[in-house]
Amino acid sequence: MTDLKRIRNFSIIAHIDHGKSTLADRFIQYCGGLTDREMSEQVLDSMDLEKERGITIKAQSVTLTYTAPEGDSYQLNFIDTPGHVDFSYEVSRSLSACEGALLVVDSSQGVEAQSVANCYTAIDQGLEVVPVLNKIDLPAADPDRVIDEIEEIIGIEAHEAVRVSAKTGIGIPDLLADLVKRIPPPEGDPQAPLQALIIDSWFDNYLGVVSLVRVKQGTLRRKEKMLVMSSGRTYQVDRLGIFTPKMQDTELLAAGAVGFVISSIKEIDGAPVGDTITHADRPAPKALPGFQQVQPRVFAGLFPINAENYEDLREALGKLRLNDAALFYEPETSQALGFGFRCGFLGMLHMEIVQERLEREYDLDLISTAPTVVYEVETTKGELVRVDNPSNLPPVNQIAEIREPIISANILLPQEYVGNVITLCVEKRGVQKGMQYMGRQVQLTYELPLNEVVLDFFDRLKSVSRGYASLEYSFKRFQAAELVRLDILVNSEKVDALSIIVHRDQSQTRGRELADKMRELIPRQMFDVAIQAAIGSHIIARTNIKALRKNVLAKCYGGDVSRKRKLLEKQKAGKKRMKQVGAVEIPQDAFFAVLHVGKDK
């Protein structure tokens, strides 16, 4: 058993692209966790999606053996964290398994808003934060300026920060030496009643439910009977061990350790994230404080293109939900799209990722409706209704007041883009709450309606600041606003899945833009298609998709039939991916049209 004093549990806090995964890979390499042959780029981002997008979505962990220059051997447990604002909840989960965190800052770019927010989370959770300057090899690196920024914006001492290049390997030994010195060892008693916190659980097709745990007290051994405290159910431990990053079985996990547990849990909600595992025969007196339950903020309908896949979609959502506590879903029925689920997400990236995982990992063809936020509606009878679906908005004459969610947004950006970003915030109905100069960076604080942010705020912010602005936000309150429901009618038939809630001042423009966008996105059909935008019974915009006149091959003389067949098969497959609403075939994109509006202007 490893002496507690020789264990270090840590995370890395870093903005996307600041080199967290590369640094993790370097640690693994330095400590010999993988042979060179096994070392594929960025091993920790194990989902294909994560590798492709270069971001971390789910927590992963790796246990490494590090020998310090003085000869002492340490067990380093590194718990990876996601870097995107949508996943701040996951970050706090990962941090709860650690005693310290490395704050990795790109020494050419400086501090970013999300790192600031995550850093505060770490400090709040009592972690030791160790600043690290990465990408020191870049010609544009300006470590002294970045040190000032760290001290000024985050307020931690940074002059001693180790300077590294994860890419070239410069400074890695110094960083590891610094890490074991500055991050405290875990505390805990291996003899005490068992308390192991479930940091993450996921469903593996071969192994069943796998949980990543941090043992706080006591020792868990193979074959023991464990108790999941929230459900009161007991299971036998089949396997446990550590990730090196390969799965490596061990006989036990003792206080201070981070590792995996596989038991006889078959049902996917048997090991909820944030729950505590203890021994069935010697239970701990109480569970560890779990995680704060997160509220999904963005909602959208997900519908299978093929109605037969409804049950598959339900099962897939269940599996994803197992280790994605922030994902919410409940059945929804749409006149246009049939049976599906209304799903709640942390933000737009979370939504995109869930959708992509459903399509890729579960091979489902989905249609998603435009994302919406949750509104509070006070009815004339004095009831309070929460509306997460525009088509459920009560009739206008029953609404006393609609309230929209307001967020407080912190935007960190270089001075030269302040003008652009302020203009954007004003366009998005933002109210400035603060502006602070910090070195060459400026921190803007705005209160913004969340529904404006979920549409295209991220993309626009990146484009008006050439990618330099970063954003972090938190929910503030519900606030009354002049909101109306904008309906889209296709050949005079209202398509419920296309309705959106907008501010009255923007409704005319939005209606026109949306109708125009629909005309672009819906392919010509065999008949004219009329598109109308309406508020209540009042038509505010109309446009027409002219009928296709013909679809026929000019030539066919017995020759290459297979090529013609493939062409027609392709046409047919394209149609299958469309949803038939009345007689009109509407492509997936169109249900998302509101997101495309104004993008190419």
Partner: protein
């Protein structure tokens, strides 16, 4: 694939023979046929020998069946010397019986024929000439990469007539760069004034892997203009006595192309020469086969006879309804209901639900005797025949 029961093929369909000549003086940028630049030393002798060897190799599959039509396509088969053509035709006649008065078509390009040759072609046995005019408008011909002028095209038609060719087809295109209904009609008027028996009037399409698909020519008419051109052209052709019988084919009464009709009625055909496709019914085995020979002429000439056959495989049973409809529904008059079972060996019940669905969509007219596309179904023929694709 699932072992499927042999098809109930009771009769052999009519048989045609297609001969491919794979060379052109110059490849046109819209063309996706198997054509290659004409070499300076065309191995005519070897080529004719190869074609005859192909035919001989195919004979056992069509034993005893006479050939109803021959079609020399390309490429530009009129580049073949009359002597070589004469030897080829004699060779074919010696190998396989032709029905009396078999239709024998040769494709010709106006720029490649001297007037004197027509008589020789006719003497060799060619009784139908298909001239690739495309347009009589010189300004339209240049961007198409054609090597001839409108005047040469007219001269070719007149020379063919003087040489006694009684069955003439003119190939014309519409939807050319900058074309309007007026300019398309003026092209058609010149064509109908020349009074050929047959006109193939087809829309320029940008085929994959052609220079036009890569860089489309400027000012192509849009869809609405194309339909306006098509409607004006169809009216003119009808008024001039040319009845439309297929998507792109128009003929005076009694002069429909027998060879192409056989394709469209899902008949059988042998295909010899580089890249030539064949389709053959084999009642004994209970299947319908497709054959394909290697495409590149050099490759073709270098290989032994059996090795030239790049593919010979039965059409999957579940694809037969689609392949039949792909052809038969191109015909305006459609087909007699019994033909489906005769040609595919499948029971009409296999397509009954699809026929009904297509009828409900207003795309097919189904009576006890005939099945024919409606005008709507014909305009959206791709959608109509796609209904017959297996899921």
């Amino acid at each position: 694939m699932d072992p499927s029961p042999p098809l109930q093929l009771r009769v052999n369909p009519p048989l045609s023979l297609y001969i491919h000549f794979p060379w052109c003086v110059r490849k046109c940028p819209y063309c996706d046929f198997n054509s290659h630049p004409l070499p300076t030393d065309l191995p005519e002798q070897a080529f004719v020998d190869a074609l005859l060897a192909d035919l001989e190799a195919d004979l056992p599959t069509v034993w005893g069946r006479p050939v109803g039509s021959l079609f020399f396509g390309g490429g530009t088969p009129s580049l073949l010397s009359p002597e070589a053509l004469d030897r080829l035709l004699q060779g074919i006649r010696a190998l396989i019986p032709l029905v009396p008065l078999a239709e024998i078509t040769l494709e010709a390009n106006p720029g490649t024929l001297e007037a004197g040759r027509f008589a020789e072609l006719r003497a060799a046995g060619i009784n139908r000439l298909s001239i690739g005019v495309q347009s009589f408008n010189n300004a339209a011909l240049a961007p198409l990469g054609r090597i001839h002028s409108g005047e040469e095209a007219r001269a070719a038609v007149e020379a063919a007539r003087r040489a006694g060719i009684e069955n003439l087809n003119l190939d014309l295109m519409f939807g050319l760069p900058g074309q309007t209904p007026a300019s398309a009609l003026s092209d058609l008027r010149i064509a109908t004034d020349l009074a050929p028996e047959h006109i193939s009037w087809y829309q320029l399409t940008l085929e994959p892997n052609t220079p036009f698909a890569h860089t489309p020519p400027p000012a192509l008419p849009d869809e609405d203009q194309l339909v306006a051109i098509q409607e004006a052209g169809e009216a003119h052709l009808a008024a001039a006595g040319y009845g439309q019988y297929e998507v792109s084919a128009y003929a005076r009464a009694g002069w429909q192309c027998r060879h192409n009709r056989n394709y469209w009625l899902f008949g059988d055909y042998l295909g010899i020469g580089p890249g030539a496709h064949g389709k053959l019914t084999s009642p004994a085995v209970g299947c319908i086969e497709r054959t394909r020979r290697v495409a590149h002429p050099n490759d073709y000439l270098a290989r032994s006879v059996p090795q030239r056959l790049a593919e010979r495989s039965p059409i999957a049973v579940d694809l037969l309804p689609f392949e039949f409809m792909l052809n038969a529904l191109r015909l305006k008059e459609g087909f007699p209901l019994a033909l489906f079972a005769d040609r595919t060996g499948l029971s009409p019940a296999t397509i009954a639900p699809t026929l009904q669905a297509a009828e409900q969509k207003g795309m097919l007219q189904v009576t006890a005797e005939r099945i024919a596309p409606t005008l709507h179904g014909w305009r959206f023929l791709n959608d109509l025949i796609a209904l017959f694709l297996p899921d």
